[in-house]
Subunit: 313 residues, 2 copies
């Protein structure tokens, strides 16, 4: 059934079949995690590169000045409260309230965040991790209110991007820039270290317009609990905590999720997905139609030219 | 309207009016937190007594031997999986699944847990904290499965026990005995230190048979978010984490709640509410009828005689 969306594609051409009938299957990753050899010219240390290759994520702290952080959080607040300025499809609200949860196409709605996306501290590191020039596959501002923040269940982003956006290979990385302090109890990003090395072919067919519900609660493309437990047994669960300005890079296939948040402390972050120029999206591998542009950039990719120097509004 | 349930009660006799119309009101606690003067004969240290008086909770570790812990966890597993042996009303299941969440009247369903409830490490400490002989107001086994454990929102137990069970004063304490390790990410008990010193008169009337839904999600008797934020601002939020066998004592009016749990690690605990013999429950202060016996012991209270020595099955 999945083949309907790619009538001329031989199974052999799909390195990562998913949304399959029958049983969930695990297969080895067919791509490097770290696509560059480390050298003294790399934008991260040898230890950081090794950590990323082994664990599928990397936390970097103290990259931004107090002035830069103030500018970013003020810009984020203005965007969150000025929702009428951008198209409806670019805003997602909490399931049980009107609170804004996500603003998509952040790089279009804000000059400051577009500049951040191109900053060498993000895009330069992404280029190194992916061993290629990069472009933005998706960008968004996430806001998880206090008291009412909902959980997000374990998933691999790549599974969705491959199935529904047509991303061919595992050559993308997300960068999450924390815009509030994120402690253990206000819904930090939880990751399963090492999970980037296995591809989980998930069971089930993609419904039409799946993204309309999957952004609030993902039901298809979700691994079995036993699989998550088995992977988490090996290396535990990592919690990506830190102060405002902390940047979490995580590989596109690393399993992640987050608990809800009953504490008064909201969580906000700016989220950028960098894809390798050589890995541009095509026809979805397992969905009737591609997701809309606010979720997956389908224009002719434009390589980011990383910019150095202080951020300004 | 609340007065209907206590037609002869003058407002002045209700030290803690709640489920009121109009606006939430905060008032000072009218009872001691710690009801005994500390002496060298006390079952806890001076520092522990001071901590409890100031923060409204106390965490005690390493009280049980490995043999005792093995016996308790095996007994808990058997109870959880042998649900057909006790009445339906004594079992609560997860909102979204059939997984057992709570077994009530634990002291009736298990000789081992009845013995635990009477152990001097629990009942002896409760006597000291309450400055009186004690009896069991409620006992239960809580089980929060991995992957699907739901959050429980902030509340004061006393608010419910006063409104719906007719507990006159703040002279009760809960003891939670952890039966699984409880880390930051599998839904540990979160507490607001110092909140025991304020009574929050909650807005709204108690619906009939409120307990039928409130055990899964409490809607009445819940403080306003701004109030929780204000109290949490003063002393932060404490997370009661620890290994199997850790005992958390928390005062009946201390605000607490817990996040959900998407991790594979379940959470289980045995939970005993000790009430002072002098504080036995009467007519509910703000509910049409008392809650059923599995939630609030309404029999002639029998004082526990604390037992020393090792636990046996």
């Amino acid at each position: 059934m999945n083949m309907q969306s790619r009538p001329n594609l031989k199974a052999a051409q799909d390195a990562y079949p998913t949304r399959v009938p029958g049983q969930e299957r695990l297969s080895d990753r067919k791509d490097p995690v770290l696509w560059s050899d480390w050298s003294v010219d790399a934008p991260i240390s040898k230890a950081e590169a090794d950590f990323y290759a082994e664990n599928g994520y990397l936390i970097r702290r103290d990259l931004f000045s107090p002035d830069e952080l103030r500018m970013l959080t003020e810009t984020a607040d203005a965007l969150r409260n000025g929702g009428t300025d951008f198209p409806d499809e670019d805003v997602i609200r909490e399931p049980d309230s009107d609170a804004v949860r996500t603003v998509f196409r952040l790089d279009r709605h804000s000059r400051a965040f577009r500049r951040l996306a191109c900053d060498s501290r993000l895009a330069g590191v992404a280029e190194f991790l992916l061993g290629d020039q990069v472009y933005l596959h998706q960008s968004r501002l996430n806001y998880k209110p206090g008291f009412a923040g909902k959980e997000f269940y374990w998933h691999s982003d790549f599974e969705t991007w491959h199935a529904e956006d047509g991303m061919p290979r595992m050559r993308a990385v997300s960068a999450s820039v924390l815009l509030t302090p994120n402690g253990p109890h206000n819904g930090p990003l939880l990751l399963v270290p090492g999970s980037q090395n296995l591809f989980i072919s998930c069971v089930g067919e993609t419904p039409e317009a799946n993204h309309e519900t999957s952004l609030k609660q993902q039901k298809v493309g979700v691994p079995q609990p036993e699989t998550i437990a088995r992977l988490a047994d090996r290396a535990g669960i990592a919690s990506a905590e830190g102060g405002t300005g902390t940047v979490i890079f995580f590989e596109c296939n690393t399993l992640h999720g987050s608990n809800g948040n009953i504490t008064p402390d909201p969580r906000a972050n700016a989220f950028f997905v960098y894809n390798a120029m050589s890995n541009a999206v095509g026809t979805p591998f397992a969905a009737p139609a591609p997701r809309p542009a606010f979720l997956a950039n389908r224009e002719q990719p434009k390589a980011i030219k990383p910019v150095s120097g202080p951020l300004t509004a």
